[in-house]
Amino acid sequence: MEDIKIQGSPKTPTVDFNSETGVLLLKGRSIPENSIEFYKPLIDWIAEYSKHHNQKTEVNIQLEYFNTSSSKCILDVFKKLETLGDSVTINWYFEEDDEDMLEAGEDYDAIINIPFKMIEVEEI
């Protein structure tokens, strides 16, 4: 299947979904006015990937900012990932002192049935 590689913009994140390695990356900012358009292809890709997914899937979320419109779409991404079973791990990155981003990760962790690893970094 075709991988997804999207360059980040001031309002949308860098995306790198690689079916061969099973490593999925979302990095940067996700603050579009309407996020459905941006996230729909990503969710469709995971649906396709889930049919013949890798033994292990690693999801790296390295977001600096995201708006509430994106928050719902990101949840949908995670819900789609839940269908892969217990082969998935989510690494949730947050910048030092960015308590809000840590809490946001914990919010998803409370809803989603996939293990989250919270990783503090100096800068995203």
Binding site: E33, N34, S71, K72, D100
Partner: protein, 170 residues
């Protein structure tokens, strides 16, 4: 009504029609200014997030409305670790009570309660056609520790002027 948005500690004030690229520009400018002020990571991110959320609230509201309602006012003021984001726009009188109800619903709640409401709405709610998650006001309340101040002033039979003031501290 729009003049009240300026004072000595104003970082940005804007009054006019709002569009998507203007939102991008305003965000870019405020990010630079916050960096120049040397504000903390937490304060910087909160102000940025609050600004994104409130500008996009205004944008979604204005794009669904007639010409009179496309004009909005925004101001960000403050120093280092205490900021105020103030927005003003016209709202149809028929929508005032619903909006007031939403704001009252989150006012005075502590951070744990706001978090519960946010998680529930995130999990249960659906996105509107415009991409609204119904989370904007709860999110703003969370980032301002429940310090949302608002006012509705009736302008005429059709509209009221809605002011929302959001305090962000480190």
């Amino acid at each position: 009504m729009f003049e009240q948005f300026k004072n000595d500690q104003t970082l940005i004030s804007f009054h006019g029609d709002l569009n998507s690229s203007l939102i991008t520009s305003l965000l870019h400018v405020i990010e630079r200014k916050l960096e120049d002020q040397g504000s903390s990571v937490k304060a910087k991110k909160r102000v940025f997030n609050v600004l994104v959320e409130s500008l996009q609230n205004l944008y979604h509201h204005a794009s669904a409305a007639g010409d009179e309602m496309k004009k909005v006012a925004v101001a960000i003021s403050g120093t280092k670790n205490e900021y105020y984001i103030t927005t003003g726009n016209l709202v149809e009188n028929s929508k005032v009570s619903l909006l007031e109800e939403k704001l009252e619903g989150v006012s005075g709640l502590d951070s744990n309660k706001l978090r519960d409401i946010y998680q529930e709405q995130l999990d249960q709610g659906a996105l509107s056609k415009k991409g609204g998650a119904g989370l904007g006001i709860v999110d703003l309340a969370r980032r301002s520790n429940g310090e949302l101040k608002y006012k509705f002033v009736k302008v005429n039979e059709e509209f009221s002027f809605f002011t929302l003031k959001i305090k962000v501290i480190d």
